[in-house]
């Protein structure tokens, strides 16, 4: 059995679902960021797979991946900096404790 487009798409879909589950179920900011990162990586697999297995002439999909990786890194970097600040403010990075504002 050879690896084809559908295997890649399936893998990406599963990764995306796991990432989304992580974001929704985890309470630690760092773990949530890891979930986000999984979702973004699923997208990258999708792009590369489509670029490889469908008849497109250019490398747009791979180009998109490069940008998606860069943006993902920037997002996570800011997320970690904010987590650090939250920890300084409240000695915890549990998102359930972030409930100053309600209504």
């Amino acid at each position: 059995m050879s690896i084809g487009l559908y295997h890649c798409l399936l893998l990406a879909a599963i990764l995306f679902a796991i990432g989304l589950y992580g974001v929704l179920s985890k309470r630690n900011i760092i773990a949530i960021l890891m979930g986000v990162e999984l979702m973004l990586n699923a997208v990258n697999i999708n792009f590369v797979a489509f670029n490889r297995y469908t008849p497109v002439s250019d490398l747009t999909g791979q180009l998109m991946t490069v940008f998606a990786i860069t943006v993902g890194v920037a997002e996570v970097a800011i997320g970690i900096a904010l987590a650090y600040r939250i920890y300084n403010d409240r000695q915890t990075i549990n998102v359930d404790k972030l409930d100053n504002m309600k209504g």
Binding site: M64, V71, E75, I78, G79, I86, L98, N100
Partner: protein
């Protein structure tokens, strides 16, 4: 490469770099207001210059092209994009004008504030001009990542970092969902270019439809359309007030700009099936936003819910999906900027001097700062759509456009909800004029006063004679549909 086409973006980028360099060069204890002054001056000049970039209707009637492209049609500069860029720049100018004191007194990192504001503005401008999903994605991220930092910029407040984390998590999840949608659409059609997309029948495969839906959901998150609005109130409340203003005016208008382009250019056929759903969503937005705004006791939070309702009003124009509808959306977006500037200028003053933004903090503002109280009242009335303010003209355009398309019930919902919104807007006025405050006069800087007064003047002038602005929006939407 025709670099002249992207001169606006280059100019903004240079200003951002200038802010960073000046922040390093200036002595540590020197006020950073001078950077803001230079930026305001430069941007004002550029907005005036941008009026010469519009392609007049006569050129198109003669068969000329209305659009200029940069980099092989990936970047499009038409009247529509120019109008939205002007809107963003005007919003930024006003925000900087009324926040000169605020940021000097409240924020710890001042030079960075200006630099990040410029990158956010750059992101918005890229969004308005994007003609493929890669450019749109980069513009969107440039804008939101700058806003993540700006929302958390008030180091002295716990709420600020809390708001930033909430914004970051929701924002990055919505980015991931939208990117996944883009990847599916790319897989279905083999392209990410808006022009290639609408001709491609593969878009109607299961993958393509799923992708288009996910892209839409991503936009709904950014526009804080109800059921995807949970982040907005917290973020608006926790962010520094000038940034809340920018989020409400700039970020939302940028989302609308790219959303309209995606809906009308990339997915016109899918969009046709989407319009009834959009109509329902906009009705939910208007109802939910206005109802929830009533029970808030923080003015900033109230304005957050009201901005959800305003997004609903603007979506009414998108639902109309024709030339008057687009024109109405752009008109409304512009006057919403002026109304917001008035309200947030007063609010940032209150927050600066009284340390909060709830109804207690604004009590008796009419005695302490009569000009600001009047400005706030008129701005809020404009948001509610009371004549003779510009809000009335804007809502008139929106509802006429949608009624002509047969959505009478939607206009009816909008009309009822505008009436309801008067109640909570006037509650602010009541607190300012009838409740007792500490009565101490608040010193207002000339810049903040100028921003507030100019925005109110604009609100009233465009309410009494909307023709100049309407002409501009006519031109923009006319060439967009060619």
């Amino acid at each position: 490469m025709n670099f002249e086409v992207i001169s606006t973006e280059i100019f903004i980028l240079v200003l951002g770099l200038f802010a960073i360099v000046m922040d390093l060069v200036l002595p540590k204890d020197e006020s950073r207001k001078s950077i803001g002054g230079v930026l305001i001056f430069a941007l004002t000049g550029w907005v005036a210059y941008m009026f010469t970039m519009y392609v007049p209707e006569s050129v198109i009637a003669d068969g000329g092209t209305a659009t200029r492209y940069f980099n092989d049609m990936l970047y499009i500069v038409d009247n529509y994009a120019i109008f939205f860029k002007q809107l963003f720049i005007v919003a930024t100018i006003f925000t900087m004008l009324f926040s000169l004191d605020y940021m000097q007194n409240v924020l710890r990192y001042k030079g960075e504030f200006y630099a990040l504001l410029m990158t956010a503005l750059l992101g918005m401008c890229v969004l308005a001009s994007a003609n493929d999903f890669l450019t749109a994605f980069i513009g969107l991220e440039l804008m939101t990542i700058s806003f993540y930092i700006l929302v958390g910029a008030r180091i002295s407040s716990n709420n600020s970092s809390e708001a930033a984390v909430k914004y970051l998590i929701v924002g990055s999840v919505s980015t991931a969902i939208m990117l996944y949608g883009i990847s599916l659409v790319y897989g279905a059609t083999g392209s990410i270019h808006f022009y290639d997309m609408f001709r491609n029948q593969h878009l109607f495969s299961a993958i393509g439809l799923a992708g288009a839906t996910m892209i839409m959901i991503g936009f709904f998150f950014k526009l804080s359309v109800i059921p995807f609005h949970m982040w907005a109130p917290d973020v608006y409340q926790g962010a520094p007030t000038p940034i809340t203003a920018m989020l409400a005016m700039g970020s939302k208008a940028a989302g609308i700009a790219v959303f309209m382009r995606v809906l009308y250019v990339a997915f016109p056929l899918i969009g046709f099936y989407w319009l009834p759903i959009l109509a329902v969503l906009s009705a939910i937005c208007m109802i939910g936003g206005n109802i929830m705004a009533i029970r808030q006791n923080d003015v900033k939070r109230m304005l957050a819910y009201s901005s959800i309702a305003q997004a609903g009003y603007m979506m009414v124009g998108i639902v109309a999906a024709d030339y008057p509808g687009m024109k109405a959306v752009m008109f409304y977006g512009m006057l919403y900027v002026f109304a917001n500037v008035g309200a947030f200028a007063a609010l940032s003053l209150v927050e600066q001097h009284r340390g909060g933004s709830d109804y207690k903090a604004i009590a008796g503002l009419a005695k302490s700062a009569p000009v600001m109280a009047a400005v706030m009242t008129i701005s809020l009335l404009s948001m509610a759509g009371i004549p003779p303010t510009a809000g009335f003209a804007g809502k008139l355009y929106l509802f006429t456009a949608v009624v002509n398309q047969g959505y009478l019930w939607l206009a009816f919902v909008g009309f009822i909800m505008s009436m309801i919104s008067v109640y909570y807007y006037l509650q602010v006025t009541k607190a300012m004029y009838l409740d007792e405050g500490d009565g101490e006069p608040i010193v207002i800087s000339g810049a903040a006063r100028a921003a507030a007064v100019i925005s109110v003047l604009a609100t009233i002038i465009f309410g009494v004679c909307p023709e100049p602005l309407a002409h501009l929006t006519n031109l923009a939407s006319f060439t967009f549909l060619q």
